[in-house]
């Protein structure tokens, strides 16, 4: 069935929700004739039922974790507990500028979460302000930058080292922070080439950004040697928390030698992804970096809690107000319900699920370029001659969301699979069967897939060459 745009359902004069009655008003007098817009924005004019059917219908053309298995590598698409939504509703009507003595519950929650996250990461202070993972990266790198600047080394340290397997956000962040990015190659074992890294290190290096486990799902075994080498030349160790789910509570970045860590609360700590956000990207640091964290921090003051703006060395603010509080509530609930044991067990089972699925994939003829005990995810390749994009589209036809495709860049035809700990063994087995099935159906079938989704393969080239980015009223 067709899915018209809401604008195409619009009928002039039709009304949805009506606000309270508005008295007669002379807006010209109040706002100035020269400031008034001559015509209203062409928003859709629909009744409430049409609105409801429109968005309900759109949701039925959409899948999410609640619908099916969604093993996107590096995205940690685990179950988002429903209790989160009940929890966050209790804190909806708080304004960031209300008197702090009237928001003590919210501040206490943030204070406790700061402590919990520091504990889980092995850090000594945490800011909750960044709005997402990449935003946390920026915050973390700026914190490092401020640290170097405070020691008079800013002009000297202009390079950030990033492995070639890193998430794209790492080099992008380093660029945003004004750094030159230097890529470090991976060794044949998929880990950072320690010798290459050593060669690249020097007094010009501000930081190394690492994901551990890395995007191949492999734990960097030489992490301590890396940290030592970095620290020996005064560089800071940055931990990209995107893959923390593998080791949350099991091994702490702080104990590995990292100085800074950002977390993706919407990955590891089960905040719903919401179709791409909002997320939350707290940043934890060791004590020597604490003075540079953004302002304000939540602090204990007497019996209560307060916002501390007195942070003279702070990098400043990275977002208005105090962070994505709604996401913080959800992460807090998650941590407090799981406790230490639940957190560690969840990480271990994420690893178990990934390894189990990796074994099943091998049985289906998929190739595993780095076939070791993996962490929370692994990278596979389709059987010889098959294209990853086709495998992905075939999976859609069988009702599964495909893994991340063509990433990391260092593996050809990569399928990056992260099942997460909340999936059942039966689901993993059914998924492996489906991966076998799409191959058995053959290339011709695969190249045409998907067949019964709301749309079939879309023309991306056309969209890139001649993007159509908004609806236009007909006749324009």
């Amino acid at each position: 069935l067709e899915s018209p745009l809401i604008f195409e359902k619009s009928v002039p004069g039709r009304r949805g929700v009506r606000p309270p009655a508005v008295p007669q008003a002379d807006l010209t007098a109040l706002l100035g004739a020269e400031n008034l817009r001559p015509e209203p924005p062409r928003l859709p004019e629909v009744d409430e039922l049409t609105l409801v059917r429109h968005y309900t219908g759109l949701s039925r053309r959409q899948i999410g974790i609640d619908v099916t298995f969604y093993p996107l590598g590096s995205c940690t698409m685990k179950y988002n507990p429903k209790v989160h939504e009940a929890a966050v509703a209790l804190f909806a009507d708080l304004h960031p500028y209300q008197a702090p003595e009237t928001a003590q519950g919210a501040l206490q929650l943030m204070y406790e979460l700061q402590a919990d996250l520091s504990e889980i990461t092995g850090m000594e202070a945490t800011t909750l302000q960044p709005a997402a993972g990449a935003h946390g990266e920026l915050t973390g790198i700026l914190t490092i930058r401020a640290y170097h600047a405070s020691r008079g080394e800013h002009d000297q340290r202009r390079v950030v080292l990033v492995p070639d397997s890193a998430h794209g956000s790492n080099p992008a962040t380093a660029s945003m922070a004004g750094y030159t990015v230097q890529e470090i190659p991976s060794g044949p074992d998929g880990e950072v080439d320690l010798e290459a890294l050593r060669r690249a290190l020097g007094p010009h290096v501000a930081a190394i950004m690492l994901t551990n486990p890395n995007t191949l799902g492999l734990f960097e075994h030489q992490i301590r040697a890396i940290a030592e080498a970095a620290h020996a030349v005064g560089a800071q160790m940055y931990y990209d928390g995107a893959n923390l789910n593998a080791i949350m509570g099991v091994a702490r970045p702080g104990d590995m030698g990292f100085d800074v860590v950002h977390l993706n609360l919407h990955k590891t700590f089960t905040v719903p992804h919401g179709g791409g956000g909002p997320g939350s990207g707290p940043v934890g640091v060791k004590a020597h970096l604490e003075p540079f964290l953004p302002s304000p921090q939540v602090v204990r003051r007497g019996e209560g809690f307060a916002l501390d703006y007195d942070r003279p060395q702070s990098i400043g603010q990275v977002k208005s107000f105090y962070g994505n509080f709604g996401a913080l509530v959800r992460a807090y609930v998650y941590i407090r319900m799981l406790g230490r044991e639940g957190i560690q067990r969840s990480a271990a089972l994420a690893v178990l699920n990934a390894n189990y699925l990796k074994e099943l994939l091998k049985e289906q003829g998929y190739r595993i370029p780095y076939d070791r005990l993996c962490m929370h995810e692994f990278v596979a390749q389709p059987p010889e001659g098959f294209k990853t994009v086709d495998i992905a589209k075939g999976l859609l036809e069988l009702g599964f969301h495909p893994p991340t495709v063509y990433f990391p860049l260092i593996v050809k035809e990569a399928l990056m699979v992260e099942p997460t700990e909340t999936e059942t063994r039966e689901t993993l087995e059914a998924f492996a069967q489906a991966l076998g099935e799409v191959v058995r159906r053959g290339k011709e079938w695969l190249e045409g897939a998907p067949y019964t989704t709301p749309v079939r393969r879309l023309d991306e080239l056309q969209a890139n060459r001649k993007p159509k980015l908004r609806w236009e009223p007909s006749g324009q």
Binding site: P19, G64, P96, P278, S320, L396, R470, W471
Partner: protein, 438 residues
């Protein structure tokens, strides 16, 4: 409790298959002294116990639902349909729509959102959202600097002070310079714009609530070869000229007034719309219409070469996760109200604010700092410290009087009114403020 489904039988079979003896053995290749640190966390709670603790925490907060607080976020009414529709499980639990065949619902919704933002701002291209108003300003300025290849920024003091702080953090990072143009009598004065200025930024209404005519500033920017960035209140666009019509190259702002809870400051969403020729400089996601293998209309992420996961160090921004769900709330909100309802919300907010200002400035010792014309927020000079006034009002169950940073003057407090307020509410605040100031 955790959310893992593994039974003892599952564990046994799966561990055997992967060749591990037990769960800790899965980590056998890691440095062993790292493993299983004794985390200092409270004992786990059941869902029922957790909800009870949250109710206890929530009871330590006062609701700001009917408040007169402003400064970036306000207490508007959110139609009951918005939440249930935008948080349908499929939207809530989806990732970024990388597989468009399984994500047409979200992609179409974003395409519609882009259209709505384009309509509000009078600019042809909107992205799919940014984190919030403050980071939208920063991203807008960075865009202008990329486009112009310059490294100086001139910003009106009328832009929200927190937004300016965030911008400063972003500009410091790349070594760009930020100069502030102080308000004069509450408005942005004419400016001299140097040849190295790549971005000029003004706000409308400004932080004091005043509606400014930013056309001269935009013209001056263009004359100097800079781009003009307008920071606009989303609600004001129901009534005020769209920034595209007075020369803005880039319009950005905070989306919370469009159907999002205040949520103690987040999440909201930031919006950004630009002139056509800036599209390839735009940060963040973009959805385009296209056709599928059968020629059927469909929607897809486009121009991804701008983004970090393709372009890495050369990306236009590091943004990945944005604010899709809260932006969707904004779209549902605008769809629910339509142009007429949206206009009515704005009008009633303006009328209430003017009524309130009239009442409050009649209180002895109170002076209005915000000049005419103003929208739905305004700043008063109070005869007592605003922090104290805010607390005394809160004791009376009224939330108002946001303390204004001293850069704008002494003893200033910001007030906002919205469509949720009745005349009785305005009278109640007036009476309470009289008491507090007496």
């Amino acid at each position: 409790m955790d959310y893992t489904p593994h039974t003892p039988q599952d564990l046994e079979a799966m561990l055997a298959k992967v060749g591990a003896e037990d769960l800790p053995d899965l980590f056998r290749e890691l440095p062993q002294d790292l493993l299983f640190p004794p985390l200092n966390l409270p004992a786990p709670l059941s869902e029922a116990e957790m909800m009870r603790k949250l109710h206890e925490l929530a009871a330590k907060n006062h609701s700001a639902a009917g408040s007169f607080l402003g400064g970036g976020l306000r207490a508007h009414y959110i139609p009951a349909a918005v939440g249930p529709l935008a948080t349908r499980a499929e939207f809530l639990s989806a990732y970024t729509p990388y597989q468009p065949e399984a994500s047409q619902g979200l992609l179409q919704a974003i395409f519609e959102y882009q259209t709505m933002i384009s309509e509000l701002t009078g600019l042809p291209v909107s992205n799919a959202s940014l984190y919030d108003g403050s980071t939208a300003v920063a991203e807008g300025v960075l865009l202008a600097l990329r486009e112009t290849g310059r490294s100086q920024v001139l910003i009106s003091q009328g832009v929200h002070p927190e937004y300016r702080k965030v911008l400063k953090t972003y500009l410091d990072a790349i070594g760009a310079e930020l100069e502030t143009l102080p308000l004069q009598s509450g408005k942005t004065p004419p400016a001299m714009i140097g040849p190295e200025v790549g971005a000029v930024v003004g706000a409308n209404p400004n932080f004091l609530g005043t509606v400014e005519n930013l056309a001269p500033l935009a013209e001056a920017a263009h004359a100097a070869g800079a781009l003009f960035v307008a920071v606009v209140d989303a609600l004001s666009l129901a009534l005020l000229k769209p920034p595209g019509s007075y020369g803005a190259d880039i319009a950005v702002g905070e989306g919370q007034p469009l159907g999002n809870a205040m949520a103690f400051g987040g999440p909201q969403f930031g919006f950004m719309a630009v002139r056509e020729n800036l599209v390839r400089q735009l940060p963040g996601r973009l959805v385009s219409e296209t056709t599928d293998a059968d020629g059927k209309r469909g929607y897809i992420l486009t121009l991804q070469a701008r983004e970090q996961y393709i372009r890495r160090g050369k990306a236009k921004s590091n943004i990945t996760t944005n604010a899709q769900l809260t932006a969707l709330m904004g779209a549902v909100y605008l769809g629910a109200l339509g142009p007429q309802g949206f206009r009515e919300v704005a009008t009633r907010s303006v009328l209430n604010a003017h009524d309130l200002a009239q009442r409050l400035r009649a209180i002895p010792g109170v002076r209005q700092l915000t000049p005419e014309p103003y929208f739905c927020e305004f700043v008063l000079e109070l005869p007592k410290p605003p922090v104290e006034v805010r607390s005394r009002l809160a004791e009376r169950g009224l939330h108002a009087a946001v303390p204004v940073p001293e850069e704008y003057g002494q003893n200033l407090a910001l007030f906002a009114a919205t469509e949720v307020h009745t005349e009785e509410d305005l009278a109640a605040l007036e009476a309470a403020l009289r008491e507090v100031l007496a």
